[in-house]
Assembly symmetry: C2
Homo-oligomer: 488 residues x 2
């Protein structure tokens, strides 16, 4: 473990708190549990002299905390993290309970062996140990790391170089349905110059990582209608068009062999300059190893590498179905065929525009679009009938991106370099969708994501865990961020 004695001491000082709060179940479907977590975190910040406020949210209050001694001369940074965790199936876990934090060490033959939890509180910890529990990484760990970084500064008698505010979400794992509302209702407290999101896994190389954006998501359901009812394939094949074949033809018309979307204007507005390309090329992705792990010999050619591919909106068939396969298959012409589509969006391609392009593409293939089922009149008039519906709740998955050379980027890059002696890995755009867009949209400030947990943490699954070395490194990162002045 690197860092000052204060940082080391501060880390050890939070281990007991970490174990304590991981014992409180945090599935957002149980508001009473969420309330206990909010209370716990409120006390933790209070102990450090922070002013706190529970932000009402249907029985699952979010937490606002603010460092004392705010100064107008300093930039105000809001740190976002979340308290809630994914649901658990306790029987899957290789420990007594997901709510009983368990320290483990890997044996030479690759198994995880339990250690007495007291070992964590010893003077000497092994960075390769891991603490297993729901939310041990996602996303309680970053909050504990922030508390430790605050402790380290206080122990050193140093005031943070920024005004620190904290917002802890309680519904992130259910797509933060009310985050935007809660922020807007409490803008007076949450007002800030920048947003730093402490969530998500670091790059698989485990090197410090700085993320500038994430893709959004939009869903669409496309149904092609065939005959009024399923038909005997002997009597009608060659005569009545098969909706599964037509859907196949329609979907096939949307992408080329390389995986590039052929819907006109789909990629319009996306421009990757040399700076962006250099940043993406510098990410140490081991693509041959990745392909091997995924089990594919080649990848699509939307971008020149993995990072570039994430800069474009996708058009993905997440499910397709017509009649039945396997033992239930019958010799029929189906009456309809459905494809579930998801489009990962980027800031240049808002969901509504992609949906309109998709709609235009379908009608350009000769389809008449109906809402619901076609009527007899529709059936008599239009040779090709389909329905295309945009999924609900797309707004919680907005794409956002901060410029690589924006002040927040420059500041965080410098802080991470001071903490670790090297530039962080910079991810211009992560492929997945997180609720960042909601917060950014409500706060209207620049943002960046600083992920602090190991990529192989099994988050969202059983045996979620946090590598102790990452916990220590994360405190270093946050301590450096708190110490570095940010120009307003």
């Amino acid at each position: 473990m690197a860092g000052t004695p204060e940082v080391e001491a501060a880390a050890r000082g939070t281990f007991k708190e970490w174990v304590e709060v991981l014992a409180i179940p945090n599935v957002s479907a149980a508001p009473a549990d969420i309330q206990r977590n909010t209370n716990w975190f409120e006390q933790a910040f209070k102990r450090r002299g922070y002013r706190t406020r529970q932000l009402p949210n249907n029985g699952k209050p979010m937490l606002f905390a603010e460092a004392p001694n705010a100064k107008d001369t300093k930039s105000t940074v809001l740190f976002y993290a979340h308290i809630d965790g994914q649901p658990v199936t306790p029987s899957e876990w290789n420990q007594e309970s997901p709510w009983k934090p368990t320290l483990k060490q890997k044996t030479p033959d690759g198994r995880w062996m339990e250690l007495p939890i007291e070992r964590l509180y010893d003077a000497k910890v092994d960075p390769e140990w891991r603490l297993f529990a729901r939310s041990s990484s996602d996303d309680k760990a970053p909050i504990l790391m922030l508390l430790a970084a605050i402790d380290a500064l206080q122990a050193a008698g140093v005031e943070p170089a920024i005004n620190v505010k904290v917002l802890l979400d309680t519904e992130e794992e259910v797509s933060s349905p009310s985050l935007g509302t809660v922020i807007r209702e409490n803008l007076a407290f949450l007002k800030c110059d920048d947003l730093v999101v402490l969530d998500g896994p670091m790059h698989p190389s485990n090197r410090p990582t700085l993320v500038f954006g994430n893709r959004g998501i939009a869903r669409a359901t496309l149904t092609v209608f065939g005959p009024r009812q399923e038909l005997h394939s002997g009597h009608y094949a060659n005569y009545v068009a098969n909706p599964a074949m037509r859907l196949a033809q329609l979907m096939a018309s949307m992408k080329d062999e390389d995986g590039r979307v052929t819907v006109k204007h789909y990629y319009d507005g996306i421009a990757l300059d040399d700076r962006a390309r250099r940043v993406m090329a510098a990410v140490p992705d081991d693509e041959p190893a990745l392909r091997k792990r995924l089990g594919v010999a080649e990848t699509e050619k939307v971008g020149g590498n993995y990072q570039e591919a994430m800069q474009y909106p996708s058009l993905n068939i997440r499910g397709i179905k017509s009649a039945d396969v396997g033992g239930k298959a019958r010799t029929i012409i189906p009456d309809h065929a459905t494809a579930e589509i998801d489009m990962r969006t980027v800031p240049e391609t808002p969901p509504e525009r992609l949906f309109d392009l998709l709609k235009g593409h379908v009608t350009a293939q000769g389809y008449h679009l109906v809402e619901g089922e076609p009527t007899d009149d529709d059936r008599a008039r239009y040779p090709k009938l389909a329905s295309l519906m945009m999924g609900k709740g797309s707004s919680s998955g907005t794409a956002v991106r901060t410029d690589l050379d924006s002040p927040i980027g420059v500041w965080l890059r410098e802080a991470m370099k001071r903490a670790h002696g090297a530039d962080p890995i910079e991810i211009r755009m992560m492929g997945g969708t997180v609720p960042t867009g909601v917060a950014v949209g409500a706060l209207k400030v620049p943002f960046a994501i600083v992920p602090l947990v190991n990529a192989d943490n099994s988050q969202h699954s059983f045996d979620e865990n946090m590598r102790i070395g990452n916990y220590l490194d994360g405190i270093l990162t946050l301590e450096a961020i708190l110490r570095l002045e940010k120009s307003r």
Copy 2:
């Protein structure tokens, strides 16, 4: 009712037998029931002086019957029909039981009203009445009509102009798995010059119908493999190819917009001469009404009309699936996608050849075909992986066709013309698949199908019924066939 007094009397003479045998359940899954049916029909033929023999078949004996006084100078014609019926769901039926034959008359407002069964035995029957019961049409009615035609000839003191043999199948509704074996084991009895199949519905116009062939069926399962396991569509869409999209592209490559198969050589060998085209054009299909009933504004353009379309092999997606649609859809890249294909074959395109063409087409699109799941080595080597399996049991669905101007065609056409005063509707090829091919393959004789039941008979469903007028017309048809000499 037209015809001679002997024919009218003969028809009435069989009504009680018809009602009696329809009361015996005949689902082939219950061998004891099948045995009772075989026994019943054996007695019915014995009463008419026929020699009979039960042909062993795993507890469900088929029946062979032969008219007395066979003469070497006459052609020997084997009439095929089947005893067994489709399973029933009694609660669906609008009568006491599918096994209690029920006479019904349509009311002016279009409902079916029950009549006392005794009305059927009165001197005067209404041709619009219908008898409802499982197998009232499919396929006990034609056997009863044949018995009535035999009675009519005997009443008139006329010997049939052909040597009459009869084979009653007991497993037609389960695809006649042992018909070929039973025929081969009993060829000494079944030897004949021609085969006349008494099964299937007449043309919807209800005009006398003569069928020269039927399509066969072959099944194939095509699976395209994606990544080793389902992937998060945020992190991997645009990078890992989606197997549902690839399957869509692959299927789309097999057909054009008009529904014509684009797999090379798929239609090779099919030649429709002017005679065939005239016969097909003469079929009084009401295609606008058909399209309206099916709910489609346009049809595929494989042939110029419905009849022509049935002369070609089809390539039909009978089911397709990848991951899930609707409420169970997740935002993933699926790990595989499967299409179930059925190909209706014609005599020029045997199933094995079509399967080979399909296989060649898939590999020509760059796919490496594996058996079962791809290995790690397959995944590392081949960018496109799929499996293509031919379905089992295809041999029971062989396509067969008799030449329109073959002696059996000339003979049957003339007989039907004598019975009804006009040429029958001639169907060169029916689209569906019946076990005719098995019988033809085992007997190695020319054949034709003479369907005698109304097309709107709800066969295979609940409320199966037989129109009395069709029953009477069928006896006329069969009586004329028995009376007409066929040159050897």
